[in-house]
């Protein structure tokens, strides 16, 4: 029964999709059933799995780099109040910047292929993780640092045994946002600078006006993103009420 609202929401969304399909015609919007059938036929091709693999590896690298870099930099800036205050407006500004604008620069630095895809994903995902980590540390009750000092912990021990567990919930919220943005970054990267990956596949479908394939890819990505998000939410709830 706990899942009932989700099921109703899903049914309403499907009904909206179907009615939009009926309103504008199959050339503008494939029906849910046609999209699912197209997705099934796409998944039966070995070629599709090559594209999925390319996107998955680029995404995994980006997310790893964004998480490690974001948490590490966020801790440094969160612990040093002055550095944090200096950096925050600059970071907020970078967050609001349409990063597509910097795309040519990334491409010229990293070339076509995995490097620029990963760089683009990290650019999107790192800043939210950093900001969440930094703000969590700023609002940390001082007793944590005092107990670390009274136990004479080394800096890395303080970070690993005291700070990280204390801010795990906020860091995870940041990673949840970073997860979504990294995926977006990798896909946009693939749209322009790649011969492989789901973004490239979507771009070719876009060029060919193949709406069914495009929606099938969107459906696949949405399922992946929503599942990842739900898992992270569940881990987050577990961290807050173990």
């Amino acid at each position: 029964m706990r899942l009932l609202p989700n099921v109703i929401l899903l049914l309403v969304l499907l009904a909206l999709w179907e009615s939009l399909h009926l309103a504008v015609g199959p050339s503008a919007m494939a029906s849910p059933w046609a999209t699912a059938a197209r997705l099934a036929s796409l998944l039966a091709q070995a070629d599709t799995w090559r594209h999925i693999g390319a996107t998955a590896s680029a995404f995994a690298w980006s997310l790893l780099l964004a998480c490690v870099g974001g948490v590490a930099l966020g801790m440094l800036l969160g612990l040093n109040a002055m550095a944090g205050n200096v950096a925050e407006p600059i970071l907020m500004n970078l967050y609001a910047l349409p990063k597509v604008t910097l795309y040519p620069l990334v491409l010229l630095c990293f070339g076509l292929g995995l490097g620029s895809k990963v760089a683009f994903g990290v650019m999107h995902g790192l800043i939210p993780i950093l900001l969440f980590t930094m703000n969590a540390l700023r609002h940390l009750p001082p007793v944590y640092m005092r107990s670390a000092r009274s136990l004479r912990l080394a800096p890395w021990q303080t970070a690993w045994h005291i700070l990280l567990p204390a801010i795990a919930g906020e860091v995870l919220a940041g990673i949840r946002l970073g997860f979504a943005l990294t995926l977006l970054g990798v896909l946009i990267g693939e749209m322009f600078a790649s011969q492989k990956g789901l973004g490239y596949l979507a771009m070719t479908a876009m060029g060919a006006g193949d709406i069914a394939t495009l929606l099938a890819i969107a459906l696949l990505l949405t399922c992946f993103a929503v599942t990842g998000n739900a898992l992270l939410l569940r881990v987050g709830r577990h961290l807050e009420h173990p």
């Binding site: 609202p5 989700n6 109703i8 929401l9 969304l13 504008v24 050339s27 503008a28 919007m29 002055m82 205050n85 200096v86 950096a87 407006p89 600059i90 907020m92 500004n93 967050y95 609001a96 910047l97 349409p98 990063k99 597509v100 604008t101 910097l102 795309y103 040519p104 620069l105 491409l107 010229l108 630095c109 946002l177 997860f179 979504a180 943005l181 995926l183 977006l184 896909l187 946009i188 749209m191 979507a202 479908a205 876009m206 006006g209 709406i211 495009l214 929606l215 890819i217 969107a218 990505l221 949405t222 993103a225 929503v226 990842g228 998000n229 739900a230 939410l233």
Partner: protein, 249 residues
């Protein structure tokens, strides 16, 4: 000026000087990046000549329309959803995982629906920005202290008066956080859609210059986008700080 903003200024100026130096000495080649001073002078030149005026106007009309639509509709929907707890409970999973969906992938659908032009670009930007506003409205309305509503009842204010004189001012700082995000997402949505597929706009002009290996104009336009985002952000932050201060008084 506080000590922090002096240091921040030094960091930014130092960074620009570093890039300038690296470009001038040839460590960063001219094919990769033009020096910041050249970007600025080229930007002034194209602005004076009016080469990109049409694209700049196109983008800004899109951004303003998308931001206004997202803020107004997001606020309205937020109020409606807040007043219907059952609906809100059902929508909660959608709202919490909304940004995990790569919205840009639906851009071609909008192109088929609205054609290449203002319509589809504004639609995608609104789609990206509206949920931030809805979420901010919900949390703003949630955080109105119960005592304020009690005061309204004590004073026997009508429902409309309560909303205008008590609830709106109390929720305003949170709402403004949503406005800030909505504007940022409107910028991102508009420039990125123009970059992907469009016949006009700053995003399109950057993509076009990139395809022509026209680094001078490309970097001038990138600087223009960077400057406009910084300016708009700075303005919104300034208003935000004033609202927060009023709240603390």
């Amino acid at each position: 000026m506080t000590k922090e903003s002096v240091i921040r200024l030094c960091v930014v100026v130092g960074f620009i000087a570093l890039v300038e130096g690296l470009c001038r000495t040839g460590v960063i080649g001219a094919t990769v990046m033009t020096a910041p001073s050249q970007m600025a002078s080229q930007l002034l030149r194209v602005l004076a000549a009016g080469t990109y005026n049409h694209d700049i106007a196109f983008s800004f009309i899109n951004i303003v329309c998308a931001a206004v639509l997202a803020v107004v509709a997001g606020f309205g929907l937020g109020v409606v959803i807040h007043s219907l707890p059952r609906l809100r409970q059902a929508l909660e999973p959608l709202l919490s995982s909304y940004y995990a969906v790569p919205t840009f992938i639906f851009y071609p659908v909008f192109i088929v629906l609205f054609g290449v032009g203002h319509g589809s670009i504004i639609a995608i930007a609104v789609l990206l920005a509206i949920v931030a506003m809805i979420t901010a409205t919900l949390s703003g309305l949630d955080r109105i202290p119960a005592v304020l509503r009690k005061t309204a009842r004590v004073m026997r204010l009508s429902r409309a008066r309560t909303a205008l004189a008590i609830e709106l001012p109390a929720a305003l700082p949170h709402l403004f956080g949503g406005v800030k995000l909505a504007v940022a997402y409107a910028f991102i949505g508009v420039i990125a859609s123009e970059f992907i597929l469009s016949g006009a706009g700053m995003g399109y002009a950057i993509a076009y210059a990139y395809n022509q290996f026209d680094n001078a104009n490309m970097y001038a336009l990138m600087l223009l986008v960077l400057l406009s985002v910084t300016l708009v952000n700075g303005l919104l932050n300034h208003i935000d700080r004033r609202l927060q201060r009023r709240q603390q008084r």
